[in-house]
């Protein structure tokens, strides 16, 4: 049996996905929202963790933290992603995701991907290939994207600093670097450029 932990914030959507997985005889699925994902990962023995990477992209440590808490430690990560959003894709890559499935894939494709990832093999949805190319050209580091995501949610410099365990000065330096690298007129412009480009 492949034990899957399914992480998605909208209960209706994660229940639906769990229902799809439940039809496969070789898979048992447990599902959880992000806020209790680490606890669930510790409490449940998991072979493959399936997470919607479009959510929570602001908190770049989340996926890595989540995987650190999975039991047993060898658990694999498979992410559900959207074409045209290179930011979350790179985030997943940096968290050592082994599987990348398009949210527009068929249920059968998801099952195939889960089985492949459970066997330790990489799975990349061909329709996400362009996103990987875009991700490789993304001008901002993951840390800069985390700072910018929090700014986009309306957080102040002090709030961003507290959230990412940085000093206010360091956050300001990141914001200057972001504005410069994106060629933005100011911070607000940088946020818009990043959102339009699918980086956040």
């Amino acid at each position: 049996m492949i034990r899957v932990l399914l992480v998605h914030d909208a209960r209706l959507l994660r229940s639906g996905l769990a229902e799809l997985l439940g039809k496969a005889r070789d898979i048992t699925a447990t599902c959880t929202p992000w806020r209790s994902a680490e606890r669930a990962a510790r409490a449940t023995r998991t072979d493959v963790c399936v997470a919607d990477v479009d959510e929570r992209n602001g908190e770049s440590r989340d996926l890595t933290e989540l995987m650190r808490h999975t039991s047993p430690p060898g658990c694999r990560l498979l992410v559900l992603a959207t074409a045209g959003r290179p930011g979350p894709l790179r985030h997943a890559f940096e968290a050592d995701a082994l599987g990348f499935v398009n949210k527009d894939a068929s249920p059968d494709q998801l099952l195939t991907a889960i089985r492949q990832v459970a066997a330790g093999e990489r799975f990349v949805d061909p329709s996400l290939a362009l996103g990987f190319l875009q991700a490789s050209q993304l001008p901002l580091t993951q840390r800069e994207l985390s700072v910018l995501s929090l700014a986009a949610e309306g957080a102040s410099v002090a709030e961003i600093a507290a959230s990412l365990h940085l000093t206010n000065g360091t956050v300001r330096n990141y914001m200057s670097a972001i504005t410069r690298k994106t060629g933005a007129r100011n911070r607000v412009d940088a946020i818009c450029i990043a959102q339009r480009s699918g980086w956040l």
Copy 2:
């Protein structure tokens, strides 16, 4: 039997939702992405159309157009919405939606809502109530929100004009009104304010 047409762009997610609905003996569900929703609405006899209103909020005519094409004409609209996003909620209200279900609801709540809406009764998820109040205080008209949504996606004035069947001058007038009403410094700032406030 209640005939449900389920509209969601991500195939995995709509398949999962269809699977949930399929477990109820009094419901049959057909599902479709937005791009073929009108065709599906014409081709399939539908009692309740269930649509994820967080998607496609830029094109404000979509929900109304969709309902105009449903067969039979008396079909009811139930939307899946997110708390804290008053924009899509108002859009659904203006498209005469009868049901409003939180995406974080349980599968049973969705089934209850579908049965109630199919019987011609209104269903409003209590957890969305605050969003309605916020929607009533939203300073922009639905038309202004459509213009701003397209601008947020990176469309030029000419592209927005073509998409909404307006002249370039009218679009510029809308943009000025939007900037003034939101107290924004400029167009880019207005987009950020709107995204942070959950209007788009």
